[in-house]
């Protein structure tokens, strides 16, 4: 079982106030709560692929008992029950919420259902873990946040990078200022997949392939960008106030309504830009969050950072290289007047001494269990997650409306550089 000391040791940050300055939500692992002999009773609503993945982690947590599963698609419900044979099965989430034994719900349905279930769950006093994105509508995201604030319950969102040790260490390092101010953030996530899943009968097309349609999805922005934009915001300790973007359908126009190629630029108040690019038809560059500081560049997915100026090779090696160069290289007739400034060959340093086991999802769920047991919401986590969704929806809006969009005052909450409008 992961306690605070073990997790902090894994991150390598050292115990103390430094960690909490970077990630205040880690206070959820505070040892003083003595939760080792306690358990919380959880229901999972939405037992499709993501729900099953979350359940596979939850069943291994001795502090969690999954007592109910719910899905209105029989095949998913069956798969959920295979993971937790003793759980009660439901097809209507309202019946789950009526179950007084359920203390918390994990919601892993498509995003269009998150708001209704979340708000209803808070209304009856349940703690909530909702997968990202919170919703595909900014209004609903705000309603969910307000419902949480009024409920006094715990609210978690499936933003696992907040518990990923690489990110925790990297952001903590960045925020020391030792690498200079952040100059630019570049994020991308490229895949070559069609998202389409096999459908047993035509009437299930929009139910199963909800990701492909505008009525039920914001495509790349809610599926992928939502995970990554929050990293930029976290590193900057600021919320960007403007965004512009362009979206298009290029390779997959025959099978979907949502964009398969997006490009957004988010602008922070100090002028730093965070660019987001994503395509569904080329996976060569994979995914990465690049944070470019004055003295170093961080690549968080690779788990590496690179100094701008690397120490020179030892003198003896430089001497041997020059001797070899003068001896064996041909004499140029005319040298080049410009040498291309291609990307540096710097191999960089690893952010962590060892590769982390997962992507933070396990730690995120463990944190949720701790929070439910102690009934204490970790600091800032709901606010960070709130903006994670709002930023991706704002980017989508900018692409749809083909204009620079300023962050609307009505969606601002009291957090970082935002103040809730009265």
């Amino acid at each position: 079982m992961l306690d605070r000391r073990s997790f902090i040791k894994e991150v390598g940050l050292g115990i103390g106030a430094g960690i909490l300055a970077t990630a205040p939500w880690l206070d959820v692992f505070s040892e003083k709560n003595h939760t080792n002999t306690l358990r919380c009773k959880i229901a999972v609503i939405g037992t499709g692929s993501r729900g099953q993945f979350l359940m596979s982690l939850l069943v291994n947590n001795p502090k969690v008992e999954i007592i109910a599963v719910c899905d209105d698609y029989p095949l998913n419900l069956k798969k959920g029950l295979e993971l937790v044979p003793g759980a009660r099965a439901y097809t209507d989430y309202r019946k789950v919420l009526d179950n007084k034994d359920v203390e918390a719900v994990v919601i892993a349905t498509p995003p269009i259902y998150h708001a209704g279930i979340t708000i209803d769950a808070f209304a009856v006093g349940k703690h909530v873990f909702s997968e990202k994105a919170l919703s595909i509508y900014m209004d609903e995201v705000l309603q969910m946040y307000n419902a949480y604030k009024n409920s006094g319950k715990v609210f978690f969102v499936g933003q696992q990078r907040y518990f990923d040790s690489r990110y925790l260490k990297a952001i903590s390092n960045l925020q020391t200022g030792n690498y200079g101010a952040i100059q630019s953030i570049r994020i991308h996530w490229d895949r070559n997949t069609d998202w389409r899943r096999p459908v047993p009968s035509p009437e299930l097309e929009r139910k199963i392939n909800w990701r492909l349609y505008k009525a039920t999805s914001r495509g790349l922005m809610t599926e992928l960008a939502c995970h990554q934009l929050q990293v930029g915001m976290w590193a900057m300790k600021s919320i960007p106030n403007k965004v512009m973007g362009v979206g298009s359908l290029i390779a997959r126009a025959h099978e979907r309504e949502v964009y398969d190629n997006v490009s957004c630029i988010y602008s922070f108040d100090n002028g730093v830009k965070m660019t987001y690019n994503s395509t569904n038809s080329n996976k060569f560059y994979g995914l990465e969050e690049q944070i470019l500081c004055e003295k170093a560049t961080f690549e968080l997915e690779k788990g590496k950072y690179y100094y701008e100026t690397i120490p020179p090779a030892p003198g003896i090696m430089q001497l041997l290289h020059d001797m070899e160069d003068k001896t064996f290289n041909t004499i140029p007739i005319a040298g080049s007047s410009w040498i291309p400034e291609t990307a540096g060959q710097n191999k960089g340093e690893y952010i962590l001494d060892q590769k982390p086991d997962g992507d933070g999802t396990k730690e995120l769920l463990e944190a949720f269990a701790e929070a439910v047991i102690t009934q204490k919401q970790p600091r800032n986590f709901a606010e960070e997650s709130y903006y994670g969704t709002q930023l991706c929806l704002l980017g989508h809006q900018a692409m749809e409306e083909e204009r620079v969009v300023v962050f609307p005052d009505k969606y601002k909450i009291n957090y970082l550089n935002h103040t809730k409008s009265v």
Partner: protein, 80 residues
Amino acid sequence: MRETIITGKRKKQEILVLAICLGIACILNILSILIYKTDYKELYSELPTVFIIALILYLLSVGIRAGIYIIHLLILRIKK
């Protein structure tokens, strides 16, 4: 196979050659620190590289001396 004897004189000679090669390598290291203005800690941090250079120089000297000896033998044979 014929018995060979490595005399004390030969051993001293080879040790001298190796010492000269090591000296050259050390001088190269010092010069490179001065020319390229690198850290003086390379006087000891680059010792493994210095030893490798010394060994390469020694092996080159063995090759060159062996070559000279073979050429000398061939000349003698031709004269006979």
